[in-house]
């Protein structure tokens, strides 16, 4: 469903992505791991063109993503949920509005959007805090709102950029729970960037290790983590063991 070929991106002299190839199949859950600065975020953001790559190609359901015009791109993005590390909620809107406003702006009837938003919020375990504003919530709750916002459009692909990395360790659990629940119950294709190795082990069909802008190893979590080939994978194995 997602086919990335020879993707390249550099910032000045820093090469963030170096000829990256990656395929993701429909319904698959892929976890990307790697040290800080290895290009994970860049890769995942290139998929919905939050970052414009310098070269290479991305196909989504056979559609050339990099060749889309702005209207087509907007359609594509609506079909891809994106969860940010920093939640990226709209501060001035309520929780409910945060989840529904892009539906309304996309042309949906307001009432219908409210229903959908409430459903989505229920899915992430938020049933009663709709009228609050993001700053009145805990980090975990905020991220769950972010998740609800991403999945309210019922996207084909969900992209997660370290959704728990900026959370209090105590709050990580509730978010991971929601994620695991989503992976197991929706069947949506997911690309998840995370450092949570045990979570990866539990939910991922495939794990991809990156280092310095390149994919260094990939395979099923069991295979990769039991018999790591790359330095990075070995490091993560140690992490898991400890």
């Amino acid at each position: 469903m997602l086919d990335i070929k020879g993707l390249h991106k550099h910032y000045g002299k820093v090469i963030a992505l170096d000829e990256v190839d990656l395929q993701v199949h429909k319904g698959e859950t892929v976890v990307i791991m790697g040290p800080s600065g290895c290009g994970k975020s860049t890769l995942i953001r290139c998929v919905n063109r939050l970052t414009e790559p310098d070269g290479g190609a991305i196909y989504f359901n056979g559609q050339n993503v990099l060749g889309l015009n702005s209207v087509e791109l907007q359609g594509l993005r609506r079909n891809m949920g994106f969860v940010f590390q920093q939640f990226n909620l709209i501060a001035r809107l309520t929780i409910l509005e945060n989840v529904m406003f892009h539906l309304v702006l996309g042309g949906m009837d307001r009432d219908e959007a409210i229903v959908l938003a409430k459903e989505a919020l229920a899915k992430v375990g938020l049933e009663s805090t709709w009228e609050r504003r993001p700053h009145e919530l805990s980090g975990g709750q905020q991220q769950r709102v972010g998740i609800a916002r991403a999945l309210v459009t019922n996207p084909e692909l969900m992209l997660w950029d370290e959704p728990t990395a900026s959370l209090d360790p105590i709050l990580v659990g509730e978010v991971l729970e929601v994620m695991e629940d989503l992976v197991k119950n929706t069947g949506t294709t997911m690309v998840i960037v995370t450092h949570e190795v045990s979570f990866a082990l539990r939910v991922a069909q495939r794990v991809v290790f990156m280092d310095q802008g390149r994919i260094v190893e990939e395979g099923s979590p069991q295979k990769v983590l039991e018999n790591p080939q790359s330095e990075i994978a070995q490091l993560y194995k140690k992490l898991l063991a400890s």
Partner: protein, 706 residues
């Protein structure tokens, strides 16, 4: 970057720009208008509405209450229906505005203001402000009458009023002011005052030379009747008086200074201005330097410019040598005689003081002498009387001896002999004075002597009655007040006065010629007059016979309008900057952020000529230029290109500092992007609502859905 606007935001931006421009124009014009109205009202409050008042009476502040009462009395009595208003007190002077009822607004009344108001207590003068009117300032007296007649014939002119040197042309209506002003100006152009000035020391007989000048003009330019000698004595009276005083002062100082006469050596030529030094500084220790002030053949006059000769009433004769610049002696030039009237005067005064003191003493002594003389006379008279008695007794005795007793005894004869002897001795003194006998003593008129003594004594008393002491004191005072100036000081003062008088600083005598018709070039005429009148020092000037003055109110309003335009201009600039910072900085910073997510620009030229700067510049330029011209702003020297450039500069500046003015909430923008919002939706829903409150924020409320 253009794609950012393509999906609809350009409409928002366009509407924003239009609204901004309108609001800006209304704003700056509104404030300018408010300034206008405020000052206009204040002015009206101060000087009344147009035509409300006709004259301002300037009254000393302390007398204003009395003046008010008197003005009301005059108004009630002479001008029923008058208007009176006391406004500002400026510099200790209260100003009363007095409005005449229409029927009294006549030439006759306006020209006899002094006879109506002259007795108002504390009146310091008045200013006519009849409206509508045109004012001509400084009308030359020679054309005043002629001008008035012509002016009163102009359409729209009611009458003219003379107000000192000014002429007020009272009009029928305000509308005719510009037209009459124009006509008056062209009328004034028909006249020219050509002035010939002669520096001090070259004064001329203005009548004679004036006529010569007329003749020269007539000869050279023809049209004899065009010129008229209008040199007027009253013109520049004060200045003349001052100059005369200066001349008097100079003469006084000259007579007061030491006279220096130089008898030049036959071989020596001395010129005015040369300096002479004495060989040895005689008794005084200072060097004495003499400057030659006049050479009249053999007679050379000088003036001491340095040093002070010894105080002496006698002539001082010294050998003089040329003074060389470096202070050394040059060649022998001749004998220099210095005479000082000042010392002589002082000497004379001292002498008379001495004389006066002696006179007083003399009077005292004389009166004592008279008193003595009187006492002598009395004694003398008594002695004479006793002598008479004795003489009678002696006669009787002699007769008795001779007749009664023929047989006189020897005793009797002896007595007779003794008495005769005694008498003879007594009479001795009288004999010496020429009188032969006692009879001649008797003949002395004692009474007359006494009378003349009395006369003398009276005269002496008169002398004594004169308060000599007071006279002495006064003369002493005169001597003390004699200027205690050193010769060099006098010399310097004279030189100073001479430069002042001789230079062009102050004109000397002048001749004024009225020229009718076309204008003459005074500089060309200067050369002509200089050669024809044989006077290289004269100057010619040309002046007009009067100046049309915009009326005070018009002038104030013109200034007000200028201020208004400048304020509007400043406000336009401020407004543009504020709008750019409040509204457009948000757009610029968002654009900057979005561009950072895109592929970096490769074309070098675009990196230098960043289209974002172009956008900012154009937006700034459009806003400023439109607001500036719509608000009818005008700042001196700020022309259209300047305005365009200024707007552009402001725009670029705001682009450069856009993030400082309006930071982007990049995470929210990214969220919007990831949710598939279009740029216009991101702007309306994500970027603008939390941005600074401004026009854009306000306008966005119509579009904003959340």
């Amino acid at each position: 970057m253009l794609s950012f606007f393509r999906d609809g935001f350009y409409q928002d931006l366009l509407i924003l720009l239009i609204v901004t421009i309108i609001v800006g124009a209304v704003f700056s014009q509104g404030i300018a208008w408010a300034i206008d109205t405020y000052f206009g009202d204040t002015l009206d409050g101060m000087i009344g509405e147009y035509g409300e008042y006709d004259l301002v009476l300037h009254i000393r502040d302390e007398a204003k209450e009395a003046a008010l009462r008197e003005l009301e009395r005059i108004g009630d009595q002479s001008f029923p229906g008058y208007k009176l208003n006391q406004t500002l007190t400026i510099a200790g002077q209260a100003n009363f505005f007095f409005g005449l009822p229409a029927e009294f607004r006549t030439k006759e009344v306006l020209e006899s203001i002094t006879s109506y108001f002259g007795a108002v207590p504390g009146l310091n003068g008045y200013t006519l402000m009849v409206e509508p009117s045109v004012l001509i300032r400084g009308v030359h007296p020679s054309v005043r009458q002629e001008l008035r007649e012509q002016l009163e014939d102009l359409p729209g002119v009611k009458f003219t009023v003379r107000d000192g040197a000014n002429l007020v042309i009272v009009l029928d209506s305000e509308d005719s002011v510009p037209q009459v002003t124009k006509q008056v100006q062209s009328l004034l152009k028909q006249y020219q005052i050509l002035e010939l000035r002669f520096p001090m020391g070259f004064e001329v007989d203005t009548q004679l030379v004036g006529d010569q000048a007329l003749a020269i003009l007539a000869n050279q330019l023809g049209a004899k009747n065009r010129y008229e000698n209008v040199t007027s004595a009253e013109y520049g009276e004060d200045l003349d008086a001052f100059l005369k005083t200066l001349v008097e002062m100079r003469d006084f100082l000259t007579s007061y200074a030491s006279k220096v006469l130089i008898t030049p050596d036959p071989q020596v030529r001395l010129a005015v201005g040369e300096r002479i030094l004495f060989a040895e500084p005689s008794d005084s220790k200072e060097e004495i330097i003499v400057e030659v002030t006049g050479v009249f053949g053999e007679l050379i006059e000088g003036m001491i410019v340095q040093g002070q000769p010894v105080q002496s009433t006698d002539k001082l004769v010294q050998s003089g040598y040329r003074y060389l610049g470096d202070g050394s002696l040059g060649e022998y030039v001749g004998e220099v005689t210095i005479e000082n009237e000042r010392y002589r005067l002082a000497y004379a005064i001292d002498e008379s003081l001495r004389l006066l003191e002696e006179l007083e003493e003399l009077a005292v002594q004389a009166s004592e002498a008279v008193a003595n003389g009187e006492a002598v006379l009395t004694t003398f008279q008594e002695a004479l009387m006793q002598l008479e008695v004795l003489q009678v007794q002696m006669h009787q005795l002699n007769e008795g001896i001779a007749q009664g007793d023929s047989k006189a005894s020897g005793e009797q004869f002896l007595v007779s002999l003794l008495l005769n002897g005694l008498f003879q001795t007594l009479a001795q003194a009288a004999i010496k004075t020429g009188e032969g006998s006692l009879d001649s003593l008797q003949n002395l008129d004692i009474e007359e002597m006494r009378q003349s003594l009395l006369g003398i004594s009276e005269q002496i008393a008169n002398v004594q009655a004169i308060d000599v002491a007071a006279i002495i004191q006064q003369i002493g005072f005169v001597r003390d007040t004699l200027p205690d100036l050193r010769d060099e000081e006098i010399g310097q003062s004279i030189r100073l006065i001479n430069t002042y008088l001789g230079g062009q600083v102050i004109p000397g005598e002048r001749i004024q010629i009225l020229v009718r018709g076309s204008h003459l070039d005074e500089k060309e005429l200067e050369t002509l007059f200089r050669s024809e009148l044989d006077n290289p020092y004269l100057h010619t000037y040309s002046t007009s016979v009067g100046m049309v003055n915009p009326d005070a109110r018009g002038e104030i309003f013109r200034i007000l309008k200028e201020v208004r335009s400048i304020v509007a201009g400043m406000l336009s600039i401020i407004f543009t900057l504020v709008v750019l910072v409040l509204d457009h900085a948000t757009i610029f910073s968002t654009l900057k952020f979005l561009r950072s997510c895109e592929k970096p620009i490769k074309r070098r030229f675009l990196r230098i000529f960043d289209p974002l700067f172009l956008l900012g510049g154009v937006v700034g330029s459009i806003i400023l230029t439109s607001v500036y011209y719509l608000s009818r702003a005008q700042i001196p020297l700020v022309t259209l290109p300047v305005v365009l450039l200024l707007g552009f500069g402001l725009g670029v500046l705001v682009v450069v500092f856009a993030e400082r003015f309006s930071p982007v909430h990049s995470m929210e923008v990214m969220a919007g992007q990831s949710l598939g919002l279009s740029n216009v939706q991101i702007m309306r829903e994500v970027v603008i609502p939390p941005s600074r409150p401004g026009l854009m924020n306000l306008l966005n409320r119509w579009k904003q859905q959340f």
